[in-house]
């Protein structure tokens, strides 16, 4: 019952919009009317060698999209829909797909390979299509190279789609054997060899057992290393990609091969084509990533240990590795600083050098200094830039004590270079390096800052001057100012920036108005620097920040009023609105936290609120989020006075809570509800019915991104704390939700770290809800209403304690809830608490905990419980 879809598929790619739209509409209709027939037609189209390649490719693409989607919820729906199709249809589609392998058209084969992988991704975990891998492997011995190539490609895609646990070791062995044979130098077809190498890349995750077997591992490594020497650049690139993947997946197995790999990679970095050289550098970056993680684990307070030992590959390779990387720095491209997405050997080399510095620390400094000294004054800009870049790259890692003397000598040179070097590229890197100096060698955390009262003025003069330079240099100067200011965020009242506030603001505002401010991200950088300077203001500079408010409001007003924009202008407008709202948020937070400026600030509150409400007319997600954040800050600062804005604001609050698609907005809005609760207290009561309804709806929806659920629970606590016993009417809805979520999360078995982290977030949210509710009801005559829930709350904590997977935050919240339970319900729960043995053990255990916060939470809980039990 295949339908004739060729023409529609061709029309759907027509340059004529009307034809295209019409075709797309027809496709949609067919799909809705008869899905099985639609999918069958598509697979038949793809398999049919008599059809034009354009319609075959699109057929495959639509088929693929009917099986998989990025968004998790939709992905699951599509998988379910496929599984529920009748067997005959599915079998016929799969047969068509496998048939396509014999097509002489490589695009058709490649598309079929991807679709097969998607079907496998759905079916294999359900133990369906068990014969797939066997039938693919039987193709390997085909004489026709194109079938062989398509088969290997498919095996690669299947490995990418499917979880290693789904495939048994026997099949894994056969897949790996086929793939590695295909990669072997004896394979004459480079198409086959390339497909095999790419397939290995995806199959590496399946090779856990094979990598523990010395002989098999040696064989795989030999074949991969040989493939890096292929005459085909694509094979060499793919082979290096395999090495990169191996470096992170099998770091601890690499020792015997490191000498060879060093030789291979350094030859590739020096001599091979860029895509290959980039992968060779990436290998070393990836080793750095591994060792940085391991060494971090070693240093970590709690475990002081790591699952994988550090082999110090980087330290050992250092004397040869650093010169190799330094050489790459001289291979800059003329225009790389103008192109934001640029990536080349010099950039990769510098990035790797930075990672090496973080891995080995002080040891890198003497290896890099001679290079810097030799090149920093070269007439050729490449020498000067490379030297500066090298310096900037190693500033994170070595100790400030090691770097400070060098920086103290270099600083004046850098400032001179930034003002006077004739080359933009050099100035760009110089400004960036200054920013790195300020980031890592200046500020509260650094023992002796390289910035003094004296050189600060000179630095500022140069930075502000450079903000008039070409956009990319000005952008880096803004970035440097950001870090300079960040170092003074903790300064209290004596910041050397104080006398320059006015000049700084003036220059930054000037930059935001530059005609070319949209180039090189300049405007964003200027606003970010502005925000940071505001963050480090103090009593003394607050009046100057205050003068900024009308200026920013005027700008925002102009964006709100602007009309009839082209879509490009609209995008820029949205960006600007987002930046201005962000800036207002920072100003509100800061002015609200300085006691002397808060009241002066509040005179602007009406106007700011008015503007922010208008901003909600924009349809842009980022803008909404920024405006919402600014309103949260305003609510916290305004306190109970915020009540007067609620009637107008409420609709947008509700809108935010309903925004499932842009879940970031939903999460931020939930947070703002918390801010409102703390600001308005019982004045939030009239809005609580609406808010609670929406929050409860959100919780029961399976479309809401899971990350929003924990904050919603916490928000219950905020509301209860604000409205006290008035929360009573929500108990009957909120408590069962909390209970069932508690039930689930207490028993959750976490397969991975990410899941464990989420489970703990959820538990924490639930506990915060309980705390807020208990505290809210304290001293109320309605306290009794909570008594029936006490047993469950205790059980929840007992179960979590038994499961031993609580993180510190959860532990602390749990202790809080125990205390609150005793404090609010007193003698009503005394006996219950006495029976809860694990809670008693938990408290005892926490009393001798390392973390003082936990220890003290335990003391508090004990105090409250003693009172309840004895009272």
């Amino acid at each position: 019952m295949a339908l004739e879809v060729t023409q529609i598929l061709l029309n759907a790619q027509s340059i004529d919009a009307a034809t295209r739209n019409h075709a797309e509409e027809s496709l949609k209709q067919i799909q809705e009317q008869n899905l099985p027939a639609f999918l069958l037609s598509l697979s038949a189209e793809l398999a049919n060698n008599n059809k034009p390649i354009e319609s075959r490719k699109l057929a495959g693409l639509i088929l693929k999209n009917a099986l998989d989607a990025k968004e998790l919820h939709r992905k699951n729906d599509l998988a379910q829909r496929w599984l529920s199709l009748d067997l005959a249809t599915k079998t016929q589609i799969k047969t068509s797909l496998l048939q396509t392998f014999s097509s002489p058209v490589s695009d058709a084969r490649s598309t079929a390979a991807q679709v097969i992988a998607k079907v496998a991704g759905i079916e294999l975990p359900h133990n369906q299509w068990p014969e797939l891998i066997g039938s693919l492997l039987s193709n390997i011995h085909q004489v026709e190279t194109h079938v062989k190539q398509a088969t290997l490609e498919t095996l690669g895609y299947v490995c990418e789609e499917v979880d290693p646990q789904v495939v048994d070791q026997e099949q894994v062995n056969r897949i790996l054997t086929a793939v590695v044979q295909g990669m072997n130098a004896t394979e004459t077809s480079s198409d086959v060899r390339l497909a095999a190498t790419r397939a290995l890349y995806n199959a590496l995750g399946f090779a856990q057992a094979n990598f523990t077997n010395d002989m098999e591992r040696d064989y795989i490594m030999r074949v991969v290393c040989e493939a890096t020497q292929s005459s085909d650049v694509k094979i060499r690139q793919a082979a290096f990609e395999c090495l990169v993947a191996i470096s992170s997946t099998y770091y601890e197995k690499l020792a015997p091969y490191m000498q060879d790999i060093f030789n291979i990679t350094s030859k590739a970095v020096r001599e091979d084509e860029e895509p290959v050289a980039l992968q060779a550098i990436e290998f070393w970056s990836s080793i750095c990533d591994e060792e940085i993680d391991i060494l971090d684990d070693y240093r970590s307070e709690y475990t002081g240990d790591s699952d994988v030992p550090c082999f110090y590959f980087i330290k050992q390779a250092l004397p040869a590795l650093v010169p190799m990387l330094l050489e790459t720095l001289l291979k800059q491209e003329e225009d790389q600083d103008q192109d934001e997405g640029a990536w080349n050997i010099a950039m990769a080399g510098g990035t790797c050098l930075g990672l090496v510095a973080r891995t080995v620390g002080d040891e890198i400094v003497p290896l890099v200094m001679p290079f810097i000294e030799e090149n920093i004054s070269k007439p050729d800009w490449r020498g000067r830039e490379a030297a500066t870049y090298a310096f900037g790259s190693i500033l994170d890692g070595p100790s400030p004590g090691k770097l400070a003397p060098i920086v103290n000598v270099a600083l004046n040179f850098m400032l001179a270079a930034l003002s006077r070097d004739p080359n933009n590229h050099v100035k760009d890197t110089t400004a960036w390096t200054l920013g790195r100096i300020f980031e890592f060698l200046h500020g509260a955390a650094v023992e002796t800052s390289v910035i003094t009262q004296e050189n600060c003025q000179q630095i500022l003069t140069v930075l502000l001057q450079s903000m008039k330079d070409v956009p990319n240099v000005a952008e880096k100067a803004c970035g440097a100012l950001y870090f300079l200011a960040q170092g003074y965020e903790d300064e209290g009242s004596v910041s050397p920036l104080t006398p320059f506030f006015q000049d700084i603001f003036q220059m930054l505002l000037f930059v935001t108005h530059r005609e070319d401010a949209t180039e090189s991200n300049l405007r964003t950088s200027a606003y970010e620097a502005l925000n940071e300077v505001v963050r480090c203001s103090n009593d003394e500079t607050a009046p100057i920040v205050m003068q900024l408010i009308p200026v920013i409001m005027l700008e925002l007003h102009q964006t709100v009023e602007a009309q009839k924009l082209t879509s490009d202008e609209r995008d820029k407008q949205n960006d600007l609105q987002g930046l201005l709202c962000g800036c207002l948020q920072v100003i509100i937070q800061k002015m609200g936290s300085i006691e002397g400026s808060k009241y002066a600030f509040m005179q602007y509150a009406d106007q700011i609120m008015d503007l922010l409400l208008k901003v909600f007319a924009s349809r842009n997600a980022t803008v909404h989020e920024e405006a919402m954040l600014a309103i949260g800050a305003l609510a916290y600062t305004a306190g109970p006075n915020f009540a007067k804005y609620m009637p107008q604001f409420y609709q947008y609050l509700e809108m935010g809570l309903q925004n499932f698609e842009e879940y970031q907005i939903c999460a931020i809005t939930v947070g703002v509800v918390g801010d409102l609760c703390r600001a308005l207290e019982d004045k939030i009561l009239p809005y609580c019915d609406g808010i609670m309804t929406q929050l409860l709806k959100n919780l029961s929806s399976n479309q809401l991104h899971r990350s929003v659920k924990p904050p919603i629970f916490s928000c219950f606590g905020d509301i209860a704390l604000a409205i006290g016993e008035n929360f009573e009417k929500y108990l009957v809805y909120a408590m069962p939700m909390l209970q069932s979520a508690a039930e689930l999360s207490a028993h959750a078995v976490s397969q991975d770290d990410e899941m464990l982290e989420y489970t703990n977030q959820l538990r924490n949210g639930i506990l915060e809800a309980y705390s807020g509710i208990l505290q809210g009801f304290k001293s109320s005559p309605k306290t009794q209403a909570l008594v029936p829930y006490a047993a469950h709350v205790l059980q929840f904590i007992d179960t979590m304690y038994g499961g031993r997977e609580m993180d510190d935050a959860v532990m602390k919240s749990a202790l809080g809830v125990l205390g609150d339970l005793a404090d609010t319900l007193g003698s009503h729960v005394g006996p219950l608490i006495s029976q809860s043995s694990s809670s008693k053990d938990l408290i005892e255990e926490c009393m001798v905990y390392d973390d003082p916060l936990i220890r003290e939470s335990a003391e508090w809980a004990k105090l409250a419980i003693n009172r309840a039990v004895s009272g």
Binding site: L278, E282, S285, G341, A342, W343, M347, A348, G350, T351, G354, G392, S393, W432, G443, A444, A445, E489, D490, G492, T524, Y527, E528, N531, E532, G578, G582, Q585, E595, K598, T622, E625, E626, L629, G632, A633, Y636, I668, G671, G674, D675, R678, E681, S714, G717, D718, L721, G724, S771, Q775, K778, D820, D851, P852, L853, E856, S857, W860, L863, R867
Partner: protein, 420 residues
């Protein structure tokens, strides 16, 4: 040019955008404020719990039960809703803090079991204040609630250093005396530590906690850029002979202003308490007798009292004790208003008990006090000052009390005082 691989950030590109930072900061602030709100509710809960009705401290004296409506002073603490009190801002914060300090009574008689139940230490001379560290700053507030210093310190969350653990908003409160000559805060008590209240804990526990916790933080380190003032603990002694001797005549790094006695079992109690006592003589203090507004010791004892709307002049005790009155004419004539603190001189320096109440006899108005003063004198202070001029409680009396080893009983002790 191909873009870099997904997971590889070019070193010249910023690690996170300021927008991401703003988002993270907002979420963190919300979380902190939540735990702050919850902790404050807990803290205040425990401090409010410790606010039982004050025991009658001078059984011989029937304090006037009548409390003036106009005087809000010291009134509302026990009816503070904890959650609401946690939200106080600006001037309310000042008032609130002003009510939080434990105010020792003056020792007009020697309490029984001094050697068993009490600690003693030499009181540093200087400004008594509450030091609060939270959110990356440290603020010290004087007894009247006004800010003395705002500075970074090594106290928990006392400076914005990057390695703080736990929520930046959880706060610590220390009871201190700021000693000007060496610019040091001498810590005499610990009220809250990292968000947890010590109100409910005995002095014994608080001093133990103070000594063990303060040293963990580096707060006693010499001043540096992010630690503007040093915090020192005061050496505290058991109040036996040796302890008393050491406190009285031992060398200390600060200027002494009398001795402080703390009952070991007493909780931290805001306001006046007889469970902490101050005593001084000319050996251990330069300021035994009160000075007037010009810094001179007046020939007649002067007392600062609060004017009530019935013309009565009362002490700052809770409930206030009326010690005399001013005529309506005089009030009108001198432009005084209800609630003003006035300085009066005692003309006839013989104290009398009239119907069980202390009567200072005829009072001579000296003037209004300067406005930074927040409280009237306490009853015990008036008594102590009076005794100091006529029949002081001497160090020998304290020594004798310890030697006689708890043979004194209450009535005897109080008799001594009432003879003056």
């Amino acid at each position: 040019m191909a873009p870099p691989p997904d997971h590889r950030r070019p070193i010249k590109r910023a690690a996170i955008s300021d927008q991401q930072r703003r988002r993270e900061v907002a979420l963190r602030l919300q979380a902190d404020r939540r735990s702050d709100a919850q902790n404050r509710a807990r803290q205040l809960a425990s401090s409010v719990l410790s606010l039982g009705p004050e025991p009658a401290t001078e059984p011989e004296v029937e304090p006037e039960q009548e409390m003036s409506e106009a005087s809000g002073q010291l009134a509302g603490r026990s009816d503070l809703d904890p959650v609401r009190a946690a939200r106080l801002r600006g001037p309310e914060v000042r008032k609130w803090f002003a009510r939080q300090l434990l105010l020792p009574e003056w020792m007009v008689d020697v309490p029984p079991s001094l050697d068993r139940d009490w600690y003693v230490f030499p009181r540093p001379s200087g400004k008594r204040c509450f030091v609060v560290s939270s959110n990356g700053t440290t603020i010290s507030r004087l007894r009247n609630g006004s800010i003395l210093h705002r500075f970074p310190s090594n106290l928990p969350n006392g400076a914005r250093t990057k390695d703080v653990s736990g929520p930046a908003s959880s706060y610590s409160i220390l009871d201190c005396i700021f000693h000007e000559p060496d610019e040091t805060y001498y810590v005499i008590d610990m009220v809250c530590w990292r968000g947890y209240s010590l109100y409910d804990c005995t002095a014994e526990f608080r001093f133990f906690w103070l000594n063990s916790k303060l040293s963990e933080t580096g707060a006693s380190d010499p001043p540096s850029q992010y630690h503007r003032y040093r915090f020192n603990v005061v050496q505290i002694y058991e109040c036996n002979l040796a302890g008393l001797q050491a406190s009285y005549s031992g060398q200390v790094p600060y200027v002494k202003d009398g001795l402080l006695f703390f009952n070991k079992h007493a909780h931290y109690q805001a306001g006046n308490t007889p469970l902490a006592l101050v005593w001084k003589d000319n050996v251990c203090s330069q300021y035994v007798l009160d000075t007037d507004s010009k810094g001179q010791i007046p020939s007649q004892q002067q007392v600062v009292l609060e004017l009530q709307n019935d013309g009565n002049l009362t002490t700052s005790d809770d409930p206030p004790v009326a010690l005399g009155s001013l005529s309506r004419d005089l009030i009108a004539q001198s432009g005084l208003r209800v609630g003003n603190l006035v300085r009066v001189a005692i003309k006839d320096e013989r104290m009398r008990l009239v119907d069980g109440k202390l009567d200072l006899g005829e009072l001579q108005l000296v003037g209004k006090t300067n406005h930074s003063r927040a409280f009237a004198d306490t009853y015990s202070k008036v008594l102590f000052q009076h005794a100091a001029r006529h029949a002081p409680l001497r160090i020998e009396d304290l020594v004798a009390s310890i030697q006689s080893n708890s043979s004194m009983d209450n009535s005897q002790a109080l008799d001594v005082e009432m003879e003056g």
